[in-house]
């Protein structure tokens, strides 16, 4: 008998009775304004900037990140100077990305997270030194329940991710450090 | 309403004053109180050590002794919790079984402004009373805020000063058999708890469970700390 059969048989023999299907509950709303989202995003170490407050996006990038070299972008309003070809991507090429500019499809105010799916290579939001995510202000919802209602409306992407703030660790005597292995900073540009 | 008074074994043995204060308090409020003298012990120490299967003697005996009363009241949350859990399945069991502060609050007997106790008093929220009998709101649970039964009884005692704690409901470290199975840790927990009371200016520590207070008193005496322990019944019923 295969392990699969062994395991399933043991489960069938032992499983308890009486579990009932969860049918949801009326969850309390969480405010979903830009300011609400901004407050939580800042608590988790991220930054929020309104697109209308930035005169020129390219100058802004240069100022924020020290250089405009190796800027990889999938957002039209920012013209990057580092392109990657899906056919010839290598880890070395990915590792050169200094700033990655990606498009988020949803923001969640209760935890400052942004939902991203479908970008060129799954490692980009992690390997970049700095991450910038564009988000539409009317794509901000209050809670995770609403987020999954939206996600469930269509087929789940092959890979999707909630990103909340920059990478972080507190493993060294509970000192919170931003920029563990992933991006050192996260800025959400809301338009 | 006839009350059957249940005085736990260690109160009978070491803190008779708590039993006396409890009895007098209930009588002062006009209740008919009976103390079945054949009572022994609820059996909790055996059960907590892993020998619950030998506690049926104690539980059956308890049930027989107390079956004629409408309400069973005791100045000990942990013993009450134990008896409640074990009488749950006893056929013929119907009574209310209540810890003393819970009983008094439910009966609306919360005005002790006629009594004076000019001391700084810290309240030890015993774990079984708090999380088992819900005699107050525990800090883990979101959305619960009310005063505990013991605070409701003490807060208008004249001249009393109820002090707050840094960790309102951290365990004192008694835990019955725990105190002898893990003695070093039990004493450390007791010491830390007492430090919290001292830091916040307590002169007297009170609570619903003399067992926890006995353990703390043991540490206080050993360390010669400037504190004393009293069951709350002895505060609101002073003779």
């Amino acid at each position: 008998m295969s392990s699969k059969e062994t395991i399933l048989n043991q489960i069938r023999e032992n499983r308890p009775k009486g579990g009932t299907q969860f049918s949801g509950f009326d969850f309390s709303p969480y405010p979903n304004g830009i300011d609400d989202f901004k407050a939580t995003l800042e608590k988790v170490g991220g930054k929020l900037v309104l697109k209308r407050d930035i005169k020129d996006l390219h100058t802004w990038i240069k100022k924020e990140y020290g250089s405009d070299n190796y800027v990889f972008t999938e957002v039209d309003s920012i013209v990057g100077n580092y392109t990657l070809n899906e056919m010839s991507i290598t880890n070395e090429k990915l590792n050169k990305i200094h700033v990655a500019v990606l498009a988020g499809s949803m923001g969640i105010a209760e935890n400052g997270a942004v939902w991203l799916e479908r970008f060129l290579h799954r490692s980009i939001p992690f390997i970049t030194q700095h991450l910038v995510i564009f988000l539409s202000s009317d794509a901000i919802v209050g809670t995770m329940h609403e987020a999954y209602q939206i996600i469930n409306k269509k087929e789940l992407p092959s890979f999707g991710i909630f990103i909340s703030g920059p990478s972080k660790t507190a493993d060294i005597e509970q000192s919170l450090i931003y920029g563990a292995h992933g991006p050192r900073s996260l800025t959400v540009i809301v338009e | 309403m006839k009350i059957g008074l249940f005085i736990p074994c260690y109160i009978n043995q070491y803190y008779p004053g708590v039993g006396i204060a409890t009895l007098k308090l209930l009588q002062k409020h006009g209740f008919e109180v009976d103390y079945p003298t054949g009572q022994t012990c609820c059996g909790q120490p055996l059960a907590n050590s892993g020998y619950e299967r030998y506690t049926h003697y104690a539980i059956n005996h308890f049930f027989t002794l107390f079956r004629k009363y409408d309400v069973i009241v005791s100045p000990s949350a942990s013993c009450i919790l134990f008896v409640k859990e074990h009488l749950k399945f006893q056929p013929g069991h119907h009574q209310k079984i209540q810890e003393l502060s819970d009983f008094l609050v439910e009966q609306g007997l919360t005005d002790y402004s006629g009594t004076s106790f000019p001391k700084k008093v810290g309240v030890l929220q015993s774990c079984h009373g708090l999380r088992g009998l819900h005699l107050g709101s525990s800090t883990e649970i979101v959305g619960e805020n009310g005063d505990s039964t013991i605070v409701k009884l003490l807060h208008n005692v004249s001249d009393i000063q109820l002090i707050g704690l840094d960790r309102p409901d951290d365990c004192c470290g008694f835990g019955g058999t725990f105190s002898v199975k893990e003695p070093a840790l039990s004493v450390k927990m007791g010491n830390d708890r007492l430090d919290d009371f001292i830091r916040n200016g307590a002169e007297v520590i009170t609570g619903t469970d003399m067992s926890c207070l006995m353990h703390l008193e043991g540490v206080i005496k050993k360390q010669r700390m400037p504190l004393e322990v009293m069951h709350f019944s002895e505060i609101i019923c002073q003779e």
Partner: protein, 446 residues
């Protein structure tokens, strides 16, 4: 064989370290309280999470088959491992099939449970722990002392020293500098790895998807840069539907570290183009626990560690005092399944205060299970002395005699009574014998 009391006593000897450890864990508990109180539905979420897990476990075989079917459709390879050894063999097989001699790992308590690292190293595979805390532990040849914060028992000084030894850098205690060194050191491995392994926080039956929740970015970086992603999962990590993730993700990080959510919550449904995902479903005793009426609720655990942060025993004696891969209250109810003799002291390493059950996001009745274990652990043997003690409790005459006897002995030979109860009297005084018992007083006055 050292049980919890001996290990705990040893830990307690360094009082300043004990106090530091206690303060640190209490601070994490306070952070949890602060963020939980921001969620009006917190208690409702706990009820929901508990119900979802109970439903899953009551129908685990069906949900597992649904999950497998959907995962296979998505192109994920699904393996079934009945025990730890089988899990390890599968990981080794995958490595060999890719001609890989190195494995980059992110945090997984399941792989600790299976002893994966030692097994792979015995077979010539270099294992690189990429989670900062786990890497530190690996270098120091220690085991994690907490399931979420593995290096919480270590001070900056200890960490600085091992960094200096392993990376040949000047010794520093600065967390910023240390993190930067770790970033550079580990990124090399991410860049050059063929096979990477993660744990699984949640697997969703209705879509054949699994979710990994992390903060550092190492888990994702490892798997996205590798050719093969191995995901090791305990069979109890399953939930029925995608929308249920809303409930668990609102509870998990808040309970674990006081964050509203982890930095990364990655949903894997299909492998990347040209890549492979191997998901290993591991039983290793879980299906057996499922059949134990007092204990199956422990399988609801989502490994948040909240019980550890609140437990006064854990805070004051540390994870290593439990001497089991999973410490704290949840460890105390899981370990005895593996070895009731070796871990027999763990269910007694508790005052039964109930704080653990009150913080548990999936409402596991941990305190009741600790009590149930105590009954099981003494269960086999009949004990004449205890049986006699039980009998005395229904004989008031005998009981009163015993009570009187104790009073007399305590008055006459207090030092002997102190010695008899020496484990109690080491740090405490016994209560004094009053002039009369309550019964004496009652008989006189009524």
């Amino acid at each position: 064989m050292k049980g919890h009391p001996e290990l705990a006593e040893k830990f307690l000897q360094d009082e300043s370290r004990t106090n530091w450890h206690d303060e640190t864990l209490w601070w994490v508990r306070s952070k949890r309280d602060a963020v939980a109180s921001e969620i009006k539905d917190w208690e409702k979420l706990r009820d929901a999470a508990s119900q979802i897990k109970e439903d899953t476990l009551s129908n685990l075989d069906e949900y597992l088959l649904e999950f497998e079917q959907n995962a296979l459709k998505n192109g994920i390879k699904v393996h079934w491992a009945a025990d730890a050894r089988e899990h390890n063999e599968i990981v080794l097989q995958v490595l060999k099939s890719k001609d890989a001699w190195q494995l980059v790992k992110s945090k997984s308590m399941l792989t600790e449970e299976c002893g994966l690292n030692d097994f792979l190293e015995d077979h010539g595979i270099e294992v690189i722990e990429s989670d900062l805390g786990e890497r530190i532990i690996q270098w120091m040849k220690q085991t994690p002392s907490h399931i979420v914060m593995p290096a919480i028992h270590l001070k900056k000084k200890d960490i600085g020293k091992v960094f200096s030894e392993k990376l040949h850098i000047r010794e520093t205690e600065d967390p910023v500098k240390l993190t930067e060194f770790a970033r550079i050191h580990l990124r090399n491995y991410f860049m050059n790895t063929k096979v990477a392994l993660t744990g699984v926080n949640f697997a969703v039956a209705d879509s054949g998807t699994f979710v990994v929740c992390t903060n550092e970015g190492n888990a994702d970086m490892g798997v996205h840069m590798a050719d093969v992603h191995i995901a090791s999962m305990g069979i109890e990590k399953l939930i029925p539907k995608i929308e249920h993730l809303g409930v668990f993700l609102r509870l998990l990080a808040r309970s674990a570290t006081g964050q509203p959510i982890t930095a990364y919550t990655s949903h894997f449904r299909k492998p990347g183009k040209g890549k492979e995902i191997h998901l290993i479903l591991v039983d290793n005793g879980r299906s057996e626990i499922l059949g134990k009426s007092h204990f199956w609720h422990s399988l609801k655990c989502i490994r948040c560690g909240a019980c550890m942060n609140t437990c006064p025993i854990f805070r004051k004696t540390g994870g290593h005092s439990y001497d089991y891969i999973i410490p704290g209250p949840i460890g105390a109810i899981l370990a005895p399944h593996r070895d009731p003799i070796k871990y027999g002291s763990l269910p007694f390493a508790s005052s039964l205060c109930g704080s653990c059950a009150a913080v548990c996001p999936v409402k596991i009745d941990i305190d009741k299970q600790l009590y149930a274990w105590r009954q099981e652990l003494t269960g086999e043997k009949s004990s004449l002395p205890v049986s006699f003690m039980g009998y005395v409790l229904k004989k008031p005459g005998l009981f009163n005699m015993g009570s009187k006897g104790l009073s007399i002995l305590q008055k006459l030979i207090p030092w002997m009574i102190d010695r008899f109860f020496k484990s109690y009297t080491r740090g405490r005084e016994l209560p004094k014998v009053p002039g009369q018992t309550f019964k004496d007083w009652y008989k006189k006055h009524t």
